[in-house]
Every structure is written in C-alpha cells, then in structure tokens.
Amino acid sequence: MNDFASRIIQGATGDWEMVIGLEVHAQVISNAKLFSGAATAFGAEPNSQVSLVDAAMPGMLPVINEKCVEQAVRTGLGLKARINTFSVFDRKNYFYPDLPQGYQISQYLQPVVGEGIITIDLPDGESREIGITRLHLEQDAGKSLHDQDPNSTYIDLNRSGVALMEIVSEPDMRSPEEAGAYLRKLRTILRYLGTCDGNMEEGSMRADVNVSVRRPGEEFGTRCEIKNVNSIRFVQQAIVYEAQRQVDILEEGGSIDQETRLFDANTGVTRSMRSKEEAHDYRYFPDPDLLPLTFTQEWVDSLMDTLPELPDAKKQRFIDDLGLPAYDAGVLVAEKETADFYEQVAEGRDAKIAANWVMGEFFSALNASSGDITQPPVSAGNLGGLIDLITDGTISGRIAKQVFEAMVESGKDAGTIVEEKGLKQVSDTGAIEAQVDEILAANGDKVEEYRGGKDKLFGFFVGQVMKATQGKANPKVVNEILRKKLDG
C-alpha cells in the first residue's frame, strides 16, 4: 500500500519534496459541439455524430456554440476566477489521425478564464487552497481504436469537436493525496454546476499530471508530464512512481529530461513517449476563421445569479445552521444529489439524527443496491418518517434498524411496517414494571450479587427485559424502573 499522504521522499542523500500540478480536460455538457451542430452524446454509432465541420472538409467554417461559452464562464465563476470578456481562439498545430483538421482550435495567450482558486479538503480535516492558472475552451479530438485490426487503426470522429474545458492548476500540490483531493473537489464543483459530468471512466474528465521533485524550500526541479491518466487512483499511483523515478536519477548524479510520459495502469510504471516530443512545437497562431470571443460584464453577472449553492458554501451552512460536524458535512456535500437527499430527510427534523441515518444505515443499503442515489433503496420521505417514529418514541433506535431493513425489502413506509409487525415501543409503565418484576424474581441470585456491589449486572437486567419484550420496551422507561426496583 502506497502512502499517498506523504509529502517527502526520503532519499539516500536526504529529503526530497514532490511538486505537482494538474491539467484537467473536462468535457462540457452541451447538446451540440463547440463549433458545429452535431450531437455530443456518448456511445453513438461510429461517425454518426459528425458534421462536415468536424470532419474538416474543405471550406467548412466553425460557428461557436453559445452554450459552451456559458458553461466555461459558469465554471470560471464557480472557481472564483477572473473572467476575461475578451479572449482569442488559436490553432494548435499537430498531426494525428484522430485530428482531421491538422490543428486543434484552442485558446493560448488569451483564455476565457484566468486565475482562480480551489479549496481542497484533506482527510485530517485540514483545508488548503490550490491556485487555478487558467481555464480555456478547446475542441476534443476523435477516438482511435487500435484493437479492431492487427494492421490498421480505426477512427471514430464522434468526439471530434466536442467542447473541452482545459483547467490548469498552479504547481501547488505536494502529495498524491492532495492531487486526489484536488481532482475530487474539482469534479464535485463541475457536477454541482452541471458543466461536466466528471465521469473519468467514459473519459469525460481526464488529467495530465506534471511532477517534479526538489530539495525542500529550493527552486522547482525539471518536470515531466504524464498524459491522459483516467482515474484518481491512477493519478496518485503515477505520481508515486514518477517522483521516485526522478529521485533515483538525481541521487545517482543524473538530470531529468523534460518530457511527456505515459502511465501504464497494468504495471504501475510511467514510460517515455518519445514520438510526441517533436510535436511540442505547436506553432500557435490566432484562428483566422474566428473573431475574438467577446461578451459583456452584465452577461457574466447574470450568469453569477444562476449558480447553485456550491459545495464549500453548502458545507459551511450544514456546519453553521444545522450544527453538523465538519466531517459529516463534508461527506454529505460531496455529491449534490446526496446533499439534496439529506436535506429532504433533515427538513423539520433533528439534523444530526438525520445525518447519522443517511450516512449509516442508508449508505450501507445504497451501496448494497444500485449505489445511485437517484434510485434510493428508501425514499427521503420514508426515511424521514422512520426518524419521526424514533423521535416521538413510537419505536426504539434498535427496532428502527429492523424497521429500516424491512423498508428496504418491501418498499413500504415505516408506519405500515411498525403496525404490521407490531413493533410499537412499549412505554406503558405498568406493563414494563410487570416484566421487570418477573425478571427480577427469576434471577434472585443476580439481584443479590448486584446489591452486593456488582454494578455491571445492571446491563444484564436491561438486556433481559428488552429480550422478554422483543426489544419493544422503551429503554428509558426500563432503566428508570430497574433503578427504582434495584437501588430504591
């Protein structure tokens, strides 16, 4: 097991510090592509969502999709970033079969979004701010399939021209754990905003990882870029491997070549991608087919009003207004749907009890079922109803777990199950007292021991009464009566 939290690599010649920056490509949620009217949906028949613009037929001209601009600006606002009301599209020139134009339309010197900030939450409860350098809009490339035929590569251009946001961080991260926290937080923000679905398996969010090492406090070392890593765990593994590789080279007196590397998830190793080296000469120039992208500050302000409550603000509200511990609040806001579900359950009820139920029994049941909170094993309303029965004393907390299981199985509400199974808590003092008397009479020896100073036996008596009542006796009342009878 790698220690992702470690910021320092102990080498033979002393300590080394990791320096990490991330470039994330996030596919924009839109119906149509960035510069054409073809559809963007994932998984369609090959080349069925390709316009003549996306296929780069001669004479075709790009026309920008206003929705993609809006999504980029909204993302920028969510990252508390500077929005540039004037930005420019450039051509980034390189040759690859899945890039029919021979250039990618991107933004180089004047991106649509400038410096921003992401606050990451670390497992020890600490928070750190990671700088965002920029966010720009660009076209995605098509897809190459290498496994269809031994001698040729198959190209599907459905993804060609789909809008991407490239989000570049400052080299502010110092451990694989921080890189993971950054990616998780960025994904959460994108999902809250509805600007990218953050699905790394389907490739709608991909990361390029820049790694270098240095002696703590000294100048940055030479970095290597690990391309296209497609899961958070792989990003962390790639950093661990790559940083160690660089330390080994430096300690043997070598130097690091700035280069592009690939991470092999099967072996956990990064390797040089030499063929792409020359391609770094991208010869950017402003795209003559496109005028600069301009919009007004008033429009930006109007988008600001459409932003949902973002995870940091929601977490703070859960802590301040609902009195939840920071840990609980953090878990509940990680996905917007989870936060919405929780708020429905907690509405008008004890926030902490609601949090315990959602994060405890409910999450277990959810994981055991679809894992998709939009199809919960128990609805928010029904879970709330169960909590009401606990709060008003109809059932005990222990019985509630039993009721919850029955709810998952049958889909019925708590009240119906309690009624059908006769699980109502007995708070009737007379009935409980009779039960207590019976237990005490049957265990005369234990009563003597208890009175002789063996205090721990109190729990035994509570257990016996609960068992005799099938758990339905109100534990508070049982305790009171036992105290009175045993100690009084």
């Binding site: 149509a32 080349n47 390709v50 296929a55 999709n65 269809q148 190209i155 690939l262 301009t294």
Partner: protein, 95 residues
C-alpha cells in the same frame, strides 16, 4: 531574423511537407526574402494602437445549442481511402 537550412527542414517536417535536400538552400533564401519584406512592418510605430483582429467591424456570431447536423456517416467516410463499418481505417498508429 534569418532562417538557416536546418530550420527550413524542421518546419517542413512539422508541416509534413517533403522538401528534397537540394531544395532546402534555395527555399531558405526565398523564405528569408519574404521575412525581410515582412520585417519592414516593424518600422511602423504602433504604440497605442489596438491589434486588429479582423478587417470587418463585426463580433463573433454564436449559434444556439441545438443539434442541427450529423447522422450521415456514409457521407463523412465517402472520400476516405479506406473505411469499414463506418470507421475510417488508417495505417496502424499506436503509442
């Protein structure tokens, strides 16, 4: 600024244009002529002048987010030297 033979060869390679060895020297001379001509522009004082982004006084036209195109894989692959099951087929490129 002056281009040497090696730079011309490099630019040609990046552009995937084949230039015969014997043509590199003359081409460097030709390109240098063009560069010199362009460099005359540096003599113009452009302090305080906004860079011109277009010869027409116009703003970037935007489209609405509607699906209006696509659905013709046959047309898209029609000119391809090789295609199979609606894919383009190209020589193996694998990293």
């Amino acid at each position: 600024m002056s281009l040497d033979k090696a730079t011309v060869a490099h630019v040609a390679k990046l552009a995937r244009i084949r230039v015969e060895e014997s043509d590199l020297e003359p081409m460097a001379a030709e390109l240098n002529n063009i560069m010199t001509w362009i460099e005359q522009l540096n003599e113009v004082d452009t302090d305080g002048v906004q860079p011109m982004t277009s010869v027409v006084e116009s703003v970037l036209r935007q489209r609405s987010d509607d699906i209006t195109d696509g659905g013709y894989a046959d047309k898209v692959t029609q000119n391809a030297p090789a295609s199979e099951a609606s894919y383009f087929v190209v020589p193996k490129v694998v990293e």
